[in-house]
């Protein structure tokens, strides 16, 4: 894309941060450079998901240098999904691009915006080479997850997509209504029924030379379970059918016992049958309890009407003049 298109459009970029202080300056520089070149008016919202390094300090020192920079700090780690939701809640853009620093390429922001505008759909970034950097266990798990989602849960989530996402105001309006505290962006868009379009890309190397961050296998399993439990009633339904089946079998067994009692005179001790039956029943009973507990846990989570997140501070950039001794970058400034 050449020149400044979308003259009257405001573009927001949201970047969730988690201990990214080391690469932050590079990220700010490269993103601002692209935004400045491509768009007339824009904002870059950094959402700090409870970083424990000196992200806060780095951002504060850079606020004056990057016009349109905004900073939201969450007091503890809420997770990338919620950090993104917080960013979406305060983004004002006509088109919003979400990206992970040190992973998604800033140079593609204009393409995402263009594709989003032209298609009117949500743009989902998709890795061109998804296997890069992923171990065999991770790949197997990913296959299993998508198989379950597609075939068992009727939840056809797009594969190998990342948090490099472009969406317009209309989509945001819908997504912000979903106040789930356990969120999975792609599942929410699927649930709302928003159409998407895929954009294939290769991630950028992290400026400090470290390997791109993938989820750990445990974190991936954790997320998969959350997605499944939050977005599908099918497991519960399967358990229901299973429970009904076992119940029926138990009933048949009872009929058998009754028949034996009525028509046979020499009843054996029957210890094997009895213990097999009861142990089998208990196994299933506890399996059912486990699943129910899982759902009850989610119900509890949703019914506790606590805010989805807390923001401890918000800062924004202002154009500054060179010779100020004391910086006043707080935006709580005018009589409103």
């Amino acid at each position: 894309m050449t020149g400044r298109s979308f003259e009257d459009q405001v573009i927001s970029v949201i970047a969730p941060l988690r201990n990214d202080a080391a690469i932050l300056r590079d990220f700010l520089r490269s993103v601002s450079e692209v935004l400045q070149r491509s768009f007339d008016q824009y904002e870059l919202i950094l959402v700090d998901d409870g970083s424990t390094d000196d992200t806060d300090r780095v951002v504060s020192s850079e606020l004056a240098n990057f016009p349109g920079l905004r900073y939201l700090r969450l007091p503890r780690e809420f997770g990338t999904e919620i950090a993104i939701a917080a960013g979406l809640d305060s983004a004002i853009g006509d088109v919003i691009v979400i990206m992970e620093p040190g992973f998604d390429p800033p140079a593609l922001i204009p393409d995402v915006v263009k594709l989003c505008r032209e298609s009117g759909r949500i743009v989902l970034g998709q890795l061109r080479h998804p296997s890069r950097g992923a171990g065999p266990l991770y790949r197997l798990g990913r296959k299993a997850f998508h198989f379950i989602c597609d075939r068992v849960l009727a939840l056809p989530l797009p594969k190998n997509t990342t948090y490099f996402i472009g969406l317009d105001r209309r989509a945001i309006q819908q997504i912000s209504r979903t106040r789930d505290k356990k969120r999975y962006f792609k599942a929410i868009t699927f649930y709302i029924g928003l159409p998407h379009v895929l954009l294939q890309y290769d991630p950028v190397p992290r400026p400090d030379g470290s390997a791109p961050r993938l989820r750990s296998v445990m974190a991936a399993i954790d997320l998969s379970l959350e997605v499944i439990v939050m977005n599908s009633q099918r497991p519960l339904r399967i358990v229901t059918f299973g429970a009904l089946f076992i119940g029926m079998m138990n009933f048949l067994y009872f009929l058998y016992v009754a028949a034996v009692y009525l028509f046979k005179d020499d009843i054996a001790a029957g210890w094997v049958t009895l213990s097999a039956h009861s142990s089998l029943s208990f196994v299933l009973l506890f399996a059912i309890l486990a699943v129910i507990a899982e759902y009850v846990g989610r119900v509890l989570e949703e019914t506790r009407s606590r805010p989805m997140y807390y923001v401890v501070e918000e800062k924004s950039a202002q154009q500054q003049v060179a010779n100020i001794q004391r910086k006043n970058v707080l935006s709580e400034a005018i009589e409103q």
């Binding site: 305060s90 202002q318 709580e332 005018i334």
Partner: protein
């Protein structure tokens, strides 16, 4: 109001010295000049521009604060409520009441909840009740917790200018427009010597006391006079003047309590003003750092943030998508460093600053002008 044909006629030049000279023809300067003249003193008012109330007293939201703005400071709110009544009575003819004001509370990012806002309003005795359904429908329920109907007005800066001009005249204040006060110095005999610049001709005047009411340019005069400056933060602000959609024509809306916007009638130009906590300030600097205001404004070549303000407003009130831009008022605002952390905006009043008889006054909000009256008589 008497006008002077030439600088030769400036009072206090040749003849007996003046009692008071007031520098700065904003609301605070005019108000002080009138008060002094009414007590029988001989007063000169000097204004750099060609009309009174041409700067920050004009380029602001024109809001007569009803106290609703300070749910986190009961004292400020109470004080504001008292001043609200005094101001709207005293300047009755300039106060515009033909619209309904609403305060909406945002769900996220707000520092008060709807319930807190209501209870606080009741405590300061400010009328508050739930907005009618027709108004509530204008807001996005996902982003707005509640909308309240409140009692708040705006003033017509043009009418206020006329009214004060008349009062100045009746009180017998000598007004010199287009006159810049360059410096103030201790006179060899008694009182203070004032160096004035009018039509590029330097002149002087002598007064027993001088009141410096130049707001953001307080330090320019002080430093030129070799006196200690006052620590001030300046801010370049933008007020966008807009034509709201029909359904918002007769209302004022303020979104509380965080980085939000405000849409208020602006009677001086028969339009509305749109301001935003995040986008109205364009730049901040320390006052008196040697860079002139003209130079600074040129440096920034302010470019309107209207689109950003409007985009944010349209999230909360979808009809704001149809809001039309007319123009922007850019103005420098001065703030005491301590009020950067809360928006209480105290008045600064320093008696005998540097030299005996030189008083510095820095007003916060327009309607807090009565606070100065008490400070003067103290």
């Amino acid at each position: 109001m008497r006008e002077f044909a030439s600088t030769r006629e400036l009072p206090g030049t040749m003849s007996a010295p003046l009692d008071h000279a007031v520098i700065g023809g904003g609301l605070f300067g005019c108000f002080i000049a009138i008060e002094l003249a009414r007590s029988g003193k001989r007063v000169l008012l000097v204004e750099e521009k060609d009309q009174l109330l041409g700067r920050a007293s004009y380029s602001n939201q024109a809001r007569v604060h009803g106290g609703y703005h300070y749910p986190r400071s009961f004292l400020t709110a109470n004080r504001t409520r008292v001043n609200f009544h005094r101001f709207s009575d005293a300047f009755d003819a300039c106060v515009v009441r033909n619209f309904q004001c609403y305060y909406a509370i945002a769900r996220e990012f707000s520092l008060v909840s709807a319930r807190q806002f209501q209870e606080f309003s009741n405590r300061i005795g400010a009328p508050v009740r739930e907005a009618p359904a027709a108004i509530r429908r204008l807001f996005d329920v996902n982003l707005i917790e509640s909308v309240f109907e409140v009692e708040e007005f705006v003033f017509d800066a043009t009418l206020l200018r006329e009214m004060l001009g008349q009062q100045l005249q009746e009180a017998g204040v000598e007004v010199s427009l287009g006159t810049r006060a360059v410096r103030v110095q201790k006179s060899a005999t008694a009182g203070l010597d004032l160096t004035l610049l009018r039509n590029e001709i330097t002149d002087s005047a002598r007064a027993r006391e001088v009141w410096l009411c130049t707001y953001g340019e307080l330090n320019e005069v002080l430093l030129e006079s070799g006196l200690p400056g006052i620590p001030l933060n300046c801010e370049l602000t933008e007020i966008a003047l807009v034509t709201p959609p029909d359904e918002l024509q007769d209302v004022g809306v303020t979104l509380m309590d965080g980085p939000f916007f405000s849409l208020m009638p602006f009677p001086a130009e028969q339009t509305h003003s749109l301001t935003h906590v995040r986008y109205t300030p364009h730049a901040t600097w320390r006052a008196g750092d040697g860079v002139s205001e003209e130079h600074r404004l040129g440096d920034f070549a302010p470019r309107s943030n209207f689109r950003l303000m409007q985009r944010d407003a349209a999230r909360f009130i979808p009809a704001m998508q149809r809001c039309e831009y007319r123009k922007s008022l850019f103005e420098v605002k001065a703030k005491l460093p301590r009020s950067a952390f809360n928006d209480s905006r105290p008045i600064l009043f320093r008696r005998d600053h540097g030299v005996p008889g030189l008083h510095c006054v820095l007003g916060g909000k327009i309607d807090s002008v009565y606070d100065i009256e008490e400070a003067m008589s103290a």
